[in-house]
């Protein structure tokens, strides 16, 4: 500050010019209330609009077709308002979610192992990848009867169907993440003569984790759908929401069908949000994309 040259420099009218090009101050961070409004208001408004559109379309339907779109009162008096149905709904939701979670418990570890093996052995990646894509493009619905014939009507075939539905995203996203690990980081490890395992554990896997989580989110929300789809073909035994959907259709209980749909999508959203939450907890502090600042 006391430097005479600097002092002389500062006293010239240049100062005003310099200031003109100084950085603009940053806008203050939005308050908590504002952030809450920003994150909840848009989906809430869209939701209200959708319900309004539903009501308008329903009002337009001829009376004998209105059963296709039950009203709120109908949903209550025919479905959610009935205690016995509520507990049935709960039991079936539990069945569905346990099928979904068991399926994920199969597909996630197997998928992760396959991803790592493909990363390690390039020839295997080349060999396996086309079949992964093929598996993804087979309409799994179409092979459900086959699975049924082979494995029967128990818990296992449903779990297998969920695993098949949710498998694809796991090895593919993991492999993508593993392959995009910073080359310089790998060289850093190489300079210390680190083994492949050490590189995998300390460099490639941590750096691939956020990408893998993007895959897990997709698989997670597919799992509930898969669990429901798996049951559309299994009408005997104590099933989950999928069976309820089919039974309700057969019995023309459209209110119950809608109730099952609502619970199913609530489950899907819950699974998606839990993976989202877990991913944010694990990666927000270091990964660029996981917490979006506004």
């Amino acid at each position: 500050m006391s430097d005479p040259i600097v002092a002389a420099y500062k006293s010239t009218p240049l100062k005003a010019q310099v200031e003109r090009y100084s950085p603009v101050p940053l806008a203050p961070a939005p308050s908590v209330g504002r952030r809450l409004v920003l994150s909840f208001a848009p989906p809430l408004i869209l939701g209200i609009l959708i319900v309004a559109a539903y009501a308008l379309i329903r009002a337009d339907l001829p009376a004998h077709r209105q059963f296709l779109m039950p009203s709120a009162e109908g949903l209550w008096s025919q479905a959610f308002g009935i205690a016995a149905f509520r507990s049935e709904l709960l039991m079936r939701a539990l069945t569905t979610i346990s099928i979904a979670i068991t399926g994920l418990a199969v597909s996630i570890p197997v998928g992760i192992m396959l991803g790592i093996v493909m990363f390690r052995v390039y020839a295997l990646e080349k060999a396996v990848f086309p079949y992964l894509v093929a598996l993804q493009s087979i309409p799994i619905m179409a092979i459900i009867p086959l699975i049924q014939s082979a494995l029967g009507f128990g818990f296992l075939p449903k779990v297998l169907i969920v695993a098949l539905f949710t498998f694809f995203a796991i090895p593919t996203t993991l492999l993508l993440g593993l392959k995009s690990v910073d080359r310089n980081i790998l060289e850093l490890f190489k300079l210390q003569n680190a083994s492949w395992w050490v590189m995998l554990r300390k460099a490639a896997l941590p750096s691939a984790a956020p990408t893998l989580f993007a895959g897990l989110r997709i698989s997670g929300s597919l799992a509930v759908i898969a669990a429901i789809v798996s049951e559309l073909f299994f009408l005997s035994g104590k099933g989950g929401l999928g069976q309820l959907l089919m039974n309700a259709k057969i019995d023309f209980k459209y209110e119950q069908m809608y109730a099952a749909l609502i619970v199913a999508s609530a489950l899907s959203i819950t699974v998606y949000l839990s993976f989202n939450w877990l991913g944010n907890r694990l990666f927000a502090h270091w990964h660029e994309s996981s917490d979006r600042q506004r």
Partner: protein
């Protein structure tokens, strides 16, 4: 090495290194490098760097400076010629800081020691010392994304210093920094060089930086890179920041600049 907690070579499985020709830390003899695609990056490079020297390498872009460092560090192989490098405790910094984004500063500084199998207590002790040395105390718990570019580079330096390198290679480490930060880090590296006594090989595009930091400036030709000139820089260490404004300093910069121009035209 001054006052650092020492680690027994036997503890971490390091082998004693046979002495290099002429007691040097790095020797290149007629080293050539041709990439598999036919790109000839280096041709007949002869280079000898004595223990405790600080040598800068300047040359046109794409002339093979990084290739030379990569061969010296053992990251790449060469096609012909002989290379001797004392690589027992090698320090290497890349053009960017190359920190692991999922590790805090502390974890990043400990990384290389972890890979070398240092015990945890020793790692913490050394990391604390090196973080202090580069002026990052108080930022141990920060993740790299919350550090400035200069601070990341310091963390990267601390990470390499933790192994107490006796040969330290820098591949254009400060190219992305603003001038003030760059000059400060120049001083810090020179200061560390004087205190820790490592041999430095420093690739840079900046002539003043090369002259300011080195005991010797090596000028390379266009690709395929050869060494076409070597200038000894006689200023004593440690260097004062105002050295940059001495007429003698400008004269040396001019000499390097002319050698470089010659390198580009040759």
């Amino acid at each position: 090495m001054t006052g650092s907690p020492t680690v027994n070579a036997a503890d971490i499985g390091a082998r004693p290194h046979p002495p290099l020709p002429g007691g040097n830390a790095v020797v290149f003899e007629k080293v050539s490098m041709t990439f598999p695609d036919g790109t000839e990056a280096l041709s007949d490079v002869d280079l000898a760097i004595g223990h405790g020297e600080f040598v800068s390498i300047v040359g046109p872009s794409g002339c093979g400076k990084s290739t030379l460092l990569r061969i010296a560090s053992g990251l790449s192989s060469h096609s012909s010629g002989d290379v001797w490098v004392d690589r027992q405790q090698l320090g290497y910094t890349f053009q960017d800081a190359t920190l692991l984004p999922w590790r805090r500063v502390q974890g990043n500084v400990e990384l290389l020691m972890e890979l070398r199998g240092y015990p945890a207590a020793k790692r913490r002790e050394i990391a604390k010392e090196k973080i202090e040395l580069v002026g990052l105390s108080g930022f141990e718990a920060h993740f790299p994304r919350r550090l400035s570019g200069g601070m990341r580079m310091r963390a990267s330096l601390a990470r390499s210093l933790a192994l107490n390198p006796n040969v330290f290679m820098f591949d254009e480490p400060f190219g992305a920094l603003d001038e003030i930060t760059r000059e400060r880090l120049n001083d810090e590296v020179i200061d560390l060089h004087c205190r820790e006594g490592f041999t430095g090989i420093f690739v840079t595009h900046s002539i003043p930086e090369a002259v300011y930091m080195s005991s010797k400036v090596v000028v390379m030709s266009r690709r395929p890179g050869r060494i076409i000139d070597t200038l000894d820089i006689g200023f004593p260490f440690p260097r004062q920041p105002d050295l940059r404004y001495e007429p003698e300093f400008s004269k040396l910069c001019g000499a390097v600049s002319r050698a470089l121009r010659h390198a580009i035209e040759a």
